[in-house]
């Protein structure tokens, strides 16, 4: 297991190199730093001298090969530098933003997993009845609703009409949950349709397997078949799909955080987009990749825990 983890981590290195190469091409090849300077300086009428000054100030004033070396080493060492627009250390913002983001994303993640699983089990248990039909119908319905509309409508209904939760804002500490509830509910609902359907498919797939027939022939009660035999086997594809959904979670937090004014990494990124802050976007791309790779390794571990057929070596 340890050996496997080590190997996976080592394998992540070439991938990360590839990612930083891709960002380099994007931000230095396709879109050279002069352009970045122009975009950041434009409010103050840039002259070519000002652009040069800006490039010096933001450490972009090197020939391309040298810039490449610098870019690669800095990303690899996680030195993200300073923001292009505010000059702030990117790491300080990442540190302050990580807390709220983790709370929101973590809650959305666990809560959606639980609710999806619940409805999928419910649907599988009552398969071929009206409960199953309704769950499927509502799922397809939810899948077809635009995320933004869900966010807008959710805030309108829960926050404004029913006045259950704060409309927006954030506080640290325990009170954070108060602010997290509404975005989390919306985040959960948004992924509920697709997730439930997917999980349900996994379960029904397993219900058609031979071992279910064996269990029936053994006289195992239906509920035990579902909750022990099927669930345990369905856990394997569920784990995979759940991790595959992590990038979608990212998208969710981008919109949720900026919409609800939660000062996390998501709204930081959205602000960076609006401020044309390339340094921040670059850093967030790399950070997101890191998280994603970590998540993928974690999946493999969970995968091995769930599926005895897989042994990590």
């Amino acid at each position: 297991m340890l050996r496997y983890l080590l190997r996976r981590v080592l394998y992540a290195v070439p991938v990360l190199l590839g990612v930083s190469l891709a960002t380099f091409i994007l931000f230095y090849g396709i879109f050279p730093p002069e352009q970045i300077a122009r975009r950041n300086l434009s409010a103050k009428n840039p002259t070519s001298q000002q652009i040069q000054e800006w490039l010096v100030a933001h450490d972009y004033n090197h020939p391309l090969p040298q810039q490449f070396k610098k870019h690669m080493t800095e990303l690899m060492l996680l030195r993200f530098g300073r923001s292009d627009s505010t000059g702030e250390e990117i790491w300080t913002r990442i540190k302050t933003g990580a807390g709220p983001s983790t709370i929101i994303a973590g809650l959305v993640f666990t809560a959606s997993l639980a609710t999806r699983l619940f409805f999928a089990l419910w649907s599988a248990y009552f398969r071929a009845t009206y409960v199953d039909t309704w769950i499927t119908l509502v799922s397809v319905f939810l899948m077809s609703v635009v995320y933004i509309v869900l966010v807008i409508a959710g805030q309108y209904l829960m926050g404004k009409v029913l006045r259950l939760f704060p409309l927006a804002g954030y506080q640290s500490g325990w009170t954070a949950f108060r602010f997290a509830v509404l975005p989390v509910i919306i985040g959960v609902i948004s992924g509920l349709g697709g997730g439930t359907r997917l999980f349900r498919t996994f379960m029904l797939e397993e219900m058609n397997q031979d071992y279910v027939r064996t269990a029936r022939a053994k006289g195992v009660p239906e509920s035990r078949i579902l909750f022990v035999h099927v669930l345990k086997n369905a856990a394997i594809p569920i784990i995979t799909s759940t991790v595959l959904a992590i990038p979608a979670l990212m998208l969710g937090s981008l919109v949720l955080e900026s919409f609800f004014g939660i000062p996390g990494l998501g709204s930081y990124t959205v602000d960076a987009i609006n401020a044309q802050d390339f340094a921040v976007v670059r850093a967030m791309v790399f950070l997101g990749t890191l998280l994603y790779i970590a998540g993928a390794i974690l999946t493999d571990v969970c995968y091995a825990l769930a599926d005895p057929r897989i042994r990590l070596e």
């Binding site: 960002t23 509309v149 990212m250 981008l254 987009i273």
Partner: protein, 333 residues
């Protein structure tokens, strides 16, 4: 001259589409799938809904100028554009809405008008083309790329496979949305840019699928038999493996389409969607964020755009599901 060229393209798309569907239906798999689809009423409804959208999109793509200096107007422009009103008006109202002194309208509007006084029905119809282009054009970029790389990787293995796998692992490791953001930030706003960016981010899934399937088929006995007959690799890929991948490709494309259309709305929220002038449901929804805060609420913009989007996506989801059932390999063997 230019009119001809720009009109030729949508016509060509439709002709090629019809031709390939007709050809496909001659194959037993698709004929059988079609037979099963025909028995599924929901799927037929979904298909006809998609057909209506496609028709609207097509009509909106056929455009010409009245005189050489005017803007070229599409069939939809000609049929549905209503006299522009001063500003908002409620559905079927006869006065403007939200002004200190409401003014009389020049015409009635089924779904009211938006802030610029444009008819909402018209705007919603204009969104069809954008949505279809985003879905269709993106898939047109992504699918061949994904298939080519996936099949090459799966079939030849070794170095080719390593290279392709590395490429898509790298791309896939960057969370899609961040990659999209980064690319759109660099490429700028616009329909082509959006299609390219979405295309680059969305080929990976299909490529992985194609690679896996090719890997499976490569070991199948019919491929070995073909190789034993001395049939060339290219021909095996094109004539033997590709037709066998088609069902999963068609399913993944059908289901992927709705995801692409939905993502346009989200990107619009992040100000990364299509340019402001292009009619799109994402832009309409984005605009309605402000309208919802008004009291009385201006709901018709949001309602029209999200309903149009919802119905299209729902239709695609339902049709994709039905299609998947219809060409389920388990039922097929």
């Amino acid at each position: 001259m230019l009119d001809w060229l720009s009109n030729l393209f949508p016509v060509l798309v439709v002709v090629v589409g019809f031709w390939s569907v007709r050809r496909a239906l001659r194959q037993p798999l698709w004929a059988e799938a079609w037979r099963r689809l025909k028995a599924n009423r929901l799927a037929l409804i979904a298909l006809s809904v998609i057909g209506v959208y496609a028709l609207v999109g097509f009509c909106d793509s056929i455009a010409w100028r009245n005189d050489k200096n005017a803007n070229s107007l599409s069939l939809i422009d000609r049929a549905f554009s209503r006299p522009a009103e001063p500003t908002y008006s409620a559905p079927l109202a006869n006065k403007t809405f939200g002004e200190p002194t409401p003014r009389a309208l020049q015409g009635r509007h089924l779904l009211g008008t938006d802030g610029t006084g444009q008819d909402v029905v018209y705007l919603t119809l204009k969104g069809c083309r954008t949505a279809l282009i985003i879905g269709g054009f993106t898939l047109l970029i992504a699918t061949p790329l994904a298939l080519l790389l996936g099949m090459l990787a799966g079939y030849f293995g070794k170095r080719v496979d390593d290279a392709v796998q590395y490429t898509y692992t790298v791309l896939d490791s960057i969370p899609n949305i961040l990659l999209l953001i980064a690319m759109l930030l660099v490429l700028g706003r616009g329909l082509p840019q959006l299609c390219v960016a979405l295309g680059i981010t969305s080929w990976v899934g299909l490529c992985r699928l194609a690679r896996g399937e090719t890997l499976k088929h490569r070991e199948r006995e019919y491929v070995r038999a073909a190789r034993a007959l001395g049939i060339s690799h290219g021909r095996i890929l094109m004539h033997h493996i590709l037709p066998n991948l088609l069902p999963i490709i068609v399913i993944s494309v059908t289901l992927g389409f709705s995801g692409l259309v939905l993502s346009e709305a989200i990107l619009s929220y992040l100000q990364l969607g299509v340019a402001a002038g292009t009619g799109s449901w994402g832009n309409m929804i984005d605009a309605s964020r402000l309208e919802l805060a008004r009291d009385p609420v201006i709901w018709w913009n949001l309602a029209a755009a999200s309903a149009a989007l919802f119905i299209l996506v729902l239709a695609f989801n339902l049709f994709g599901d039905a299609l998947r059932d219809a060409i389920d390999p388990r039922l097929n063997s």
